[in-house]
């Protein structure tokens, strides 16, 4: 990877180092959304900011090599479908949409909220990927090359 693209080597090294911590924090917020402040949306934003830090530090072509953007598009688009499927499980069990068919567990445990935890995970993936892909689409245009979108 050429040194011209992206920011300086200091920024690149620090981004490489803290990227795992950013993702860990995002997943922590998503998984503990029913216990503490946060949830699918907040954790998804943290995940998107992790991707965006790589995009800012390294530039577009290395990120294109690192990530499979069409697959990310597919995963992001299938998020609402997964949400609807989880909701239809409630109807399949003979109740209302989004009826809780899982056990409730003990209070203040990680597994204490039934459906809220899987729904938070779905929302987190959807929000994180869609925020990142929105900025990815906005950076598609190159001011050097001009008028060919």
């Amino acid at each position: 990877m050429s040194e011209k693209q992206g920011l300086t080597v200091i920024v690149k090294t620090i981004t490489r180092t803290i990227l795992a911590i950013i993702f860990l924090y995002g997943f922590y917020i998503i998984l503990h959304g029913h216990l503490s402040p946060g949830g699918g949306f907040g954790g998804g934003v943290v995940l998107a900011l992790g991707f965006l830090s790589v995009l800012l530090a390294y530039g577009r072509p290395p990120v294109q090599k690192w990530l499979n953007i069409p697959v990310l598009h597919s995963v992001e688009s299938s998020g609402p479908l997964l949400y609807v499927a989880l909701g239809l499980l409630g109807i399949g069990a003979g109740g209302a949409f989004l009826l809780n068919t899982l056990g409730k567990g003990r209070l203040f445990d990680l597994w204490s909220s039934g459906f809220i935890l899987p729904l938070n995970v779905v929302i987190g993936i959807k929000v994180g990927l869609s925020l990142f892909l929105a900025v990815w689409a906005l950076t598609e245009w190159d001011p050097e090359k001009g008028d060919d979108i």
Binding site: S36, P37, F108, A137, L138, P143, G146, D147, I149
Partner: protein, 112 residues
């Protein structure tokens, strides 16, 4: 009462920027300020003096809580604002692509 008036003043600052500025980036920022003022006002509607955050925790006494409903509403509002901003930025990129300027007084050839 004064905090609501201050929110309205912040909203008017955004409106002033939206109307008077010529740079498209500044217009987008001004629309963001208007949205923030509206969000702040809605959150302040649910505020109660000396209230705690509305989350049940282990070993926490029940006390006067702030209203969580405006906060949930504002979360949705923030997402919609984000979508609006992204669309404005995309349109601005298109305009810059065509006219090579952010100055709205120089964007004239809108017909054809």
């Amino acid at each position: 009462m004064i905090i609501y008036l201050l929110c309205f003043a912040l909203f008017l600052i955004g409106l002033y920027g939206l109307i008077t500025k010529r740079d498209l980036i500044k217009i987008i920022l001004a629309s963001g300020i208007m949205g923030y003022a509206a969000n702040l006002m809605i959150v302040l509607f649910g505020y109660r003096r000396s209230g705690v955050y509305p989350i049940l925790e282990k070993g926490k006494e029940t006390a006067v809580m702030v209203d969580p409903l405006p906060q949930a509403l504002v979360l949705t509002s923030i997402v919609i604002e984000l979508g609006t901003t992204a669309m404005l930025v995309a349109l601005t990129i298109k305009l810059f692509n065509k006219y090579k300027t952010f100055d709205i007084s120089k964007i004239r050839r809108l017909r054809g």
